[in-house]
Subunit: 210 residues, 2 copies
Amino acid sequence: MAEAKAVRRRPGRPRQEGPSPVYLERREEILARASEVFDVKGYDAGTLEDVAQAMGMRKAGLYHYVSSKSELLFLLFDRAWELGFQRMAGVEEIADPAERLAEVIRRHVSLIAERKSLFTVFLGRRPLFDEDGERAFLEKERRYVGIFARAVRDAAAAGLIPPVDPRLGAMALLGMTSWVYKWYDPATATAERIGDEFVRLVLGPRPAAG
Amino acid sequence: MAEAKAVRRRPGRPRQEGPSPVYLERREEILARASEVFDVKGYDAGTLEDVAQAMGMRKAGLYHYVSSKSELLFLLFDRAWELGFQRMAGVEEIADPAERLAEVIRRHVSLIAERKSLFTVFLGRRPLFDEDGERAFLEKERRYVGIFARAVRDAAAAGLIPPVDPRLGAMALLGMTSWVYKWYDPATATAERIGDEFVRLVLGPRPAAG
């Protein structure tokens, strides 16, 4: 549905393949403001009116970018996945299993911390999308969990972490790192420090074992 | 506010110190049904009407137990804390730091898994309570995190886990174990198995370190 909007041409503009950079930038801003609105109010209570107000726009203007609240939520969740995969780009090419697992942990923590509002909405109670939407998101979830599971599997195979079930290990680390959205406060601990401590907890040396 | 209700005497009953067992049992059932309603609908959208319906009661009957939706939510959150502390009873007396940390992890996982609906509400977006309620809950949160933090500190001091900041280590483990509410499915892995794997990940031997 986002597609249909995106290819709409503006009068007097040259034909273009996709949406204009200005359009995309504006929509990106709408997603950021919408995250904040839904973070504060919850997505049941938050309205398109609230988002328009946060943008200093009229609701009619907002409709140029999103056709409904459910489309906005879909775009928001989609954006969260997109950011996740962007953040993990190249991580699976890291050959050293310790470095790879450490990177997966650090990158996920930094993403959650940087986009706390978005991930508070994303990681909270999820709206039910239509069949295609649900299928697409489940597929993305599987892919994202897979990045963690392979990192766990390879670190365990190399004897760097205890031999755990890769999927359960992945869920353990996803929980550890995602939960940061609940308590992150850069005044207390920066995302970098949190990432380092988490990596140490999982991969660091334990004196008594030596 | 729960107190005021609780001491109300029923006609023809002998004077009693607190609420009757029947009253408490019924209220407990209301909390369980309310958890399910708010789990499915979210607590913004779920109503007292829905809870009464789930109980097979009239809304008027429900008012004998809770005076408002916000009181119901308060009781629900309070119950979650109570269950948490009950589950952790005696854990701090375990002298062996490995056993203690393992128990803290296992107990928290089993609690979340057993009361998934309640903790889906509890760990989701939290309503803002009045000043006294907020203070009480923050105090409970500190106490609960403290149980994890001391277990981490003592295990690190004994060289059983890497030397990490106790609070950040506590938040890591609370995230790992709380997140279970998002994906727990006993058909895939029982709470016991999840607890065992998490304990292994945190405390288990790593072959490469030996």
